[in-house]
């Protein structure tokens, strides 16, 4: 049952979206979010819709996979829609009942808001779906590099992140083993009330914690014996190179952002 957990939700592929430098993609996601929030009306939303749809089709990620990602956030989406529906004034009144008033403007706002949030989620998911977690951590480390001057432990943070990712499968395997060992001695994880099941998990977590600490200790010794001494003077085997396509993608992102800003000024 634990094998089903896919973390980082990375779907390997060889499309242009996959091959872009992780730094480019990280920047583009930020630009994308900024553009989404400067969009105000049909035209700018239309542009953003085209951009989102274009990226999705280029990445060859199935639409179904992306919409699946929306599911856990459905409550927030609906709530935003409902709030916008009732709290926007202006336009023709469509419905006036008790304290609720629905106007044409409200319907439009609600619709645009829901579309905006959905595009926001899909756009960011596209990043994690098309970039391996390690590439993402590497990209983040380089992008945040200037913060090192402010004594932000950027290298340490990214090393911790990649270690955590590395040990997820190992820990899942271990959890499976402990569960089997406890089931063999009569532990019951699957039936009973929610509180019972939660209680049954406690004896699972304790050995898992203890062994994680032991692992961490051994890992630290192993890393030190392989000359790890922090990020100082470290080189990389795989260096990230910005290629022509990266600059083109960034330029395109800038154009889209500029367009939405101009449209924002004219209220389109």
């Amino acid at each position: 049952m634990l094998k089903d957990i896919t973390l980082g939700q990375f779907f390997p592929g060889n499309t242009i979206v996959h091959r872009l430098d992780p730094r480019t993609k990280l920047i583009l996601v930020i630009v994308f979010i900024a553009a989404l929030f400067t969009a105000v009306d049909w035209f700018s939303y239309g542009l953003m819709f085209l951009v989102t749809a274009g990226c999705i089709s280029l990445s060859k990620i199935k639409l179904k996979t992306l919409t699946k990602g929306l599911k856990p956030l459905i409550f927030i989406i609906v709530l935003t829609g409902v709030l916008n529906l009732f709290y926007t004034t202006g336009g023709k009144v469509l419905l006036d009942w008790w304290i609720f008033t629905v106007t044409t403007e409200g319907v439009k706002r609600a619709f645009l808001m829901v579309v905006r949030i959905m595009m926001l989620i899909m756009g960011t998911f596209l990043l994690t779906y098309t970039t391996s977690p390690i590439a993402l951590t590497d990209g983040l480390e380089i992008l945040l590099g200037p913060l090192k001057k402010l004594h932000v432990p950027v290298h340490e943070m990214s090393m911790m992140m990649s270690m955590a990712l590395r040990f997820i499968p190992t820990l899942i395997e271990e959890t499976d083993k402990i569960m089997s060992a406890q089931k063999a001695r009569g532990a019951d994880f699957e039936t009973g009330k929610l509180t019972d099941r939660a209680k049954a998990l406690l004896p699972l977590l304790v050995p898992l914690f203890v062994s994680s600490f032991r692992r961490a200790d051994e890992l630290a010794v192993a890393m030190e014996s392989r000359c790890y001494h922090g990020g100082e003077g470290r080189t990389r085997m795989k260096q990230l190179h910005m290629k022509g396509r990266d600059w083109a993608a960034l330029a395109l992102g800038a154009v889209v952002l500029a367009a939405t800003i101009v449209m924002n000024v004219y209220g389109l």
């Binding site: 390690i134 990712l165 790890y228 990389r236 795989k238």
Partner: protein, 284 residues
Amino acid sequence: MNLQDMQPIIRVEDLHYTYPGDEIETLHGLDLEIAEGSFVAVLGHNGSGKSTLAKLMNAILLPTSGRVYVDGIDTADEDRLLDVRRTVGMVFQNPDNQIVANVVEDDVAFAPENLGVPSAEIRKRVDDALRTVGMYEYRLHAPHLLSGGQKQRVAIAGVLAMQPRCVVLDEPTAMLDPVGRREVVATVTRLCRERGMTVVLITHHMSECVGADRLVVMSEGRIAADGTPREVFSQVELLRSEGLSVPATTELIYELRRDGYELPLGALSVGECAAAIMAAVKGA
């Protein structure tokens, strides 16, 4: 090549070690020299201090008293710590807890990356190290999907990429199945014989020591026996008193000798043993 003539790569002088917080000393004054290019097996049961000795050779632990020199560098010299560690690479017992990356080749690249080697050179070292241990085809695999023996070979490659002159393996086979065990022992034997690398193999499996140039038996924090495997294994009473078994061939010859047959105790391999018995039977 006469191994005795060369400068020892590791020199241990009157080494005492007590774990912090422990009352009892773990190592009681060891003296040991490891010749460059030799294959040394260190044998001992649990608690004999063999793993502690291994950790002292790599400056993971520092002597309570006495000295450990790696290529002439005192391991207690903090400024030379990286030099010590890049000269003596270390492979540990649990393969899972020493692999640091999600991809085999990234893991092998870890040590040279730490040492600040230029990236083209790292690439070369990684490919070379993976070929040496026979894991090149797996360079893009995820380590957690490999078998124990394969993981341990990746760990060895990770150390080789540092280009050390000596590899210390601390019970590398303890968590492996017999197939994995053979893979690892064959790999380190090849390293020593073909590349001239010094190998210190710490183990409690008798059978893994047979191919070594030298066998050191540890017991209760002391060296109980030291010599070629042939010499050491012929001291059957001593090994038994240390709670260690001897290879089945030696055991057989030892029992036959007790019954009055004239047989050489040095016959280690099955073939040698059979030949010795044949000769004795014909002679009789």
